[in-house]
Symmetry: C2
Subunit: 411 residues, 2 copies
Amino acid sequence: MDSPAAPATGKDERSAPATRGGARASVVRRHNLGLLLECLHLEGPASRSELGATTGLSRSTVADLVHELVRSGLVVEDGVSPSSGPGRPSPIVRLRGSAAVAVVVELGVDAVSAAVIGLGGDVVDHRSVQLAGMRVSPEDTVRQVADLVRGMDIGPTHPRAVGLGVAVPGLVRRADGFVHVAPNLGWKDVALGGLLAEAFDVPLDRVRVGNEADLGAVGEHRRGAGRGCGHLVFISGEVGIGAGLIIGGQPMLGAAGYAGEAGHMLVNPDGRPCTCGSSGCWETEVGESALLRAAGVRDVRGLAAVDAVLTRVMAGDAAATAAVAEIGHWLGVGVGNITNLLNPEVVVLGGILQPLFPFVREPMLDAMHARCLGPVSQPVRVVPSALGTSAQLHGAAEVVLASVLADPTTR
Amino acid sequence: MDSPAAPATGKDERSAPATRGGARASVVRRHNLGLLLECLHLEGPASRSELGATTGLSRSTVADLVHELVRSGLVVEDGVSPSSGPGRPSPIVRLRGSAAVAVVVELGVDAVSAAVIGLGGDVVDHRSVQLAGMRVSPEDTVRQVADLVRGMDIGPTHPRAVGLGVAVPGLVRRADGFVHVAPNLGWKDVALGGLLAEAFDVPLDRVRVGNEADLGAVGEHRRGAGRGCGHLVFISGEVGIGAGLIIGGQPMLGAAGYAGEAGHMLVNPDGRPCTCGSSGCWETEVGESALLRAAGVRDVRGLAAVDAVLTRVMAGDAAATAAVAEIGHWLGVGVGNITNLLNPEVVVLGGILQPLFPFVREPMLDAMHARCLGPVSQPVRVVPSALGTSAQLHGAAEVVLASVLADPTTR
DNA sequence: CGTATTTGTCCGAGTGCCAAACAAATCCAC
DNA sequence: GTGGATTTGTTTGGCACTCGGACAAATACG
């Protein structure tokens, strides 16, 4: 009973269409087709009878729907159930993973990754390049992405490619992939969607650009540590801190698509000045640079530097241990603030916070519980990312493939 | 294309039913009936042809649906359109306001209000009593509510009453109306829903208890300053501070129903200790007592005391003016934090913040914009409550009447 | 007063789901 | 083995709902 895919209006991607919601019989069909597909997409192959049980649809209807999906090539029926119990065996319905794929890209601060991900979350291909470290112009980045993608068997123009999904660490307007600002790339007002559409010669509406944390949240929600949960918060800790929200099972992007900009939440009473002009911001206290600064590391950056600090912690280095504990404390204050406001079911910590997790866990939970009322914070699970650096890629794929799930008939 | 009404499961009122979502033709019917009813409920009487235009349904279908609603007594057709243009005039469809009503109650810190509100938001009756000022036990409160409600023509057992809605300033579990804690009432672990169901002799599922800020948000979203907007935040400033969230047009209650507990968000680096054990909490800096303390008022409390401060401000009193500006500053910090996280379309300030609004506007916006990235905070409208003290009552009525709108056939 | 326009009403058709009856395929007991 | 019990696919007829078109009714306007 999800809403159908809303068209990408500039304003709000969850709003209703102009002429709101008179429903005819065909929307039921679309809905049920999508439902079946989504079951298979999220939970893997299933027998026809299982599909009937989980959807509540009758045998005749399931048969009819499956036949249509088989005809359209999205699904195959092969093999039979692993013979459990008496009764006629039910044929297994399985997504043809390659029937619809998304080409996805993640623009990181020090690497660019690309992948081809099919229905069901199959990673068909995956590759990445490290960047030299210097900031790269949008045009050069697009060229780099094009090279990377062209190295893969399936590109955005491939007949089975549904679209191109891109994760960017910045403020993005989803409608057309316009990047307002991406501080850690040094970008400002970049029409990234248009540039990519041009570079790959695909229409603009096949290119979906999204904020890296928003897409990470989708990834963890659909394929990671928050599968099936209704309310999820994904905290993406990199150079900056961003949050991605899943509310009521749906990505929550805010009125203009800028929800989750949690990095400039005030957390530290005596905090350092932030690049935003304010001070005591969350990302000043919890990001990569905060950790390295607190641990006394200079000159080095990136995941390797973070790993080095963790090695020192494990070796018993007092300064590094204190640094990590401090990060954990401020992390907990922020997570507590967010928990108070949103009462999520799961908080997933991604980016550099994932490897940090076991070390920051205690101080984080202490700070969090100090700021949250018992019944609010008690049942909230705070867990590390399950997908690690792939969360954003999977999220981008989900966003691109969502159009297929929402309306399987058009393809 | 909204989801059908989810049953009030204990866990999450927005989650899907157990056997998720196979749709049959009858759900289309229910959907369309509800759609029509909701149009009339939110936008008042409309001609049949207007209904057809806004829903996109055909004339035949609208006719059929309207006939069914007339038969069930929810709607009447009377009069004709105010003759604009040529063509056959279309009969006006109008909700029978009294066909379904909600009996609603607000438990304030120093007053109890009750009302009878019908479809379309008609306030049929409304009365309230001031409390002596001392804290009242749950049992006494229930007696007081019973007396107040029995004075009205329509009670919860009236055949046209759909249910009883109650707004409480505390942490409430919606499923059964259990109040975990209501600091400003001095309550802890009160089975309010059960007590009220018993007192009025109605089944428990007819009693909907909700947090005061959550219901205020619903009220302002449906009938107040945030009509029709997708993402709204309602800040309820009383003794404590609470937030109510509307996300994607739907109330957002969180995984366990405790979303919006924003009062203990950290805002003031050098803040005072809070009753929660932490310090620098939002409600310590922005609530009623913060204002009165800052303005040098002692011994007096309540709305009257707040009004007295505002009178002093208008008279040019420097201390009062500074106090209000300080409140405005911290209010802005908190609103900025929330805006960064949720990117709402509208922030509605209710409770004592409504009368304060014109005086705190400037410092609030300054502090808010200092903490928000330009494109995020720029288009966010911050406005005072339009319904004032009635927001919660209207919100409670909407929650109760939602069952009728979701499934008009059962009544 | 006639025409254009808009809308209600009626009827047939289309779509999609379901229930029931039947057939097929498995397990299990004897 | 063989015959029930059980589960599931398949087919058919029926039902609920919506839509489009034809026609009638009610208005405005020249």
